[in-house]
């Protein structure tokens, strides 16, 4: 799913001087997740539905509905991220390096595993965005 929609894929990555096992704990243990991300009822179990809860603000309940998609201990973790319109997918990849771990977070918009909203689209999203960018460039 990672390479299919480059225009709406956000990647944040960083070298961290900690082993993958330790980072994995911070990414998958509810108490620890809460310390750097949000209150949650996460479980590292594929298919588990959970939510992140931030402080509600105007026009937003602060709840992000999620579902675990991938659990590969110490290597890869993915969940859907149901906030702000059709869902996106958040994928964490941990790669061991000499000094620790290369941590990569990829958030891909417009892709939803449950996908009810836009299954049946007759063309790919990537193509659509590609066309759109071309046209918008032409307009400006």
């Amino acid at each position: 799913m990672s390479a299919s929609a480059p225009a709406l894929t956000l990647v944040v990555e960083r070298e961290m001087p900690h082993p993958p096992e330790k980072i994995w704990r911070a990414l998958t243990q509810g108490q620890l997740i809460q310390e750097w991300l949000m209150t949650n009822d996460f479980q590292p179990v594929v298919g588990h539905r959970f939510s992140f809860r931030a402080t509600p603000v105007k026009n937003w309940s602060g709840v992000i509905e999620c579902e675990v998609l991938v659990v590969e201990p110490h290597a890869r973790l993915a969940y859907t991220w149901g906030a702000l319109g059709p869902g996106s997918t958040v994928t964490w990849t941990l790669t061991p390096t000499e000094g620790g771990t290369h941590l990569r977070m990829e958030q891909t918009g417009f892709e939803s595993e449950s996908g009810a909203n836009y299954k049946g689209a007759s063309y790919g999203w990537k193509k659509f965005i590609g066309n759109l960018e071309r046209v918008v460039e032409g307009l400006e």
Binding site: G85, N131, V136, E140
Partner: protein, 108 residues
């Protein structure tokens, strides 16, 4: 980052028919509701409804000319998507900082 504003553009484009109509407008320029109805292959009221949603999301704009209404794509239609990337980018970088802080405090 403020997560307060649900992205109308995402919603508007989550429907395949709306996406098709919008893509048609970006590809072939201004068109009448009649032409779009022929293109979309759904009823004119349905097309009008879709156009209303697209208009609300500021993806298209319209002008009246006699009895016909013409629609065209907005030039800055992609801006909200860029904004989405910017805002989530800032959000995750801040969270990465917090994660690093936590890792430094954690037992090995």
């Amino acid at each position: 980052m403020t997560l307060a504003n649900p992205n109308h553009v995402f919603r508007a484009l989550s429907d395949p028919t709306r996406r098709a109509i919008f893509e048609e407008l970006t590809r072939h320029g201004e068109q009448t509701v009649h032409a779009l109805t022929r293109y979309a292959g759904v009823s004119q009221p349905a097309v009008s409804k879709h156009l209303t949603v697209l208009k609300r999301a500021k993806l298209v704009r319209h002008r009246r000319d006699g009895r016909e209404t013409h629609y065209r794509a907005q030039a800055d239609a992609l801006a909200p998507m860029v904004d989405w990337l910017d805002r989530y980018g800032a959000f995750w970088r801040e969270r990465f900082d917090k994660l690093e802080g936590l890792l430094n405090r954690m037992e090995p």
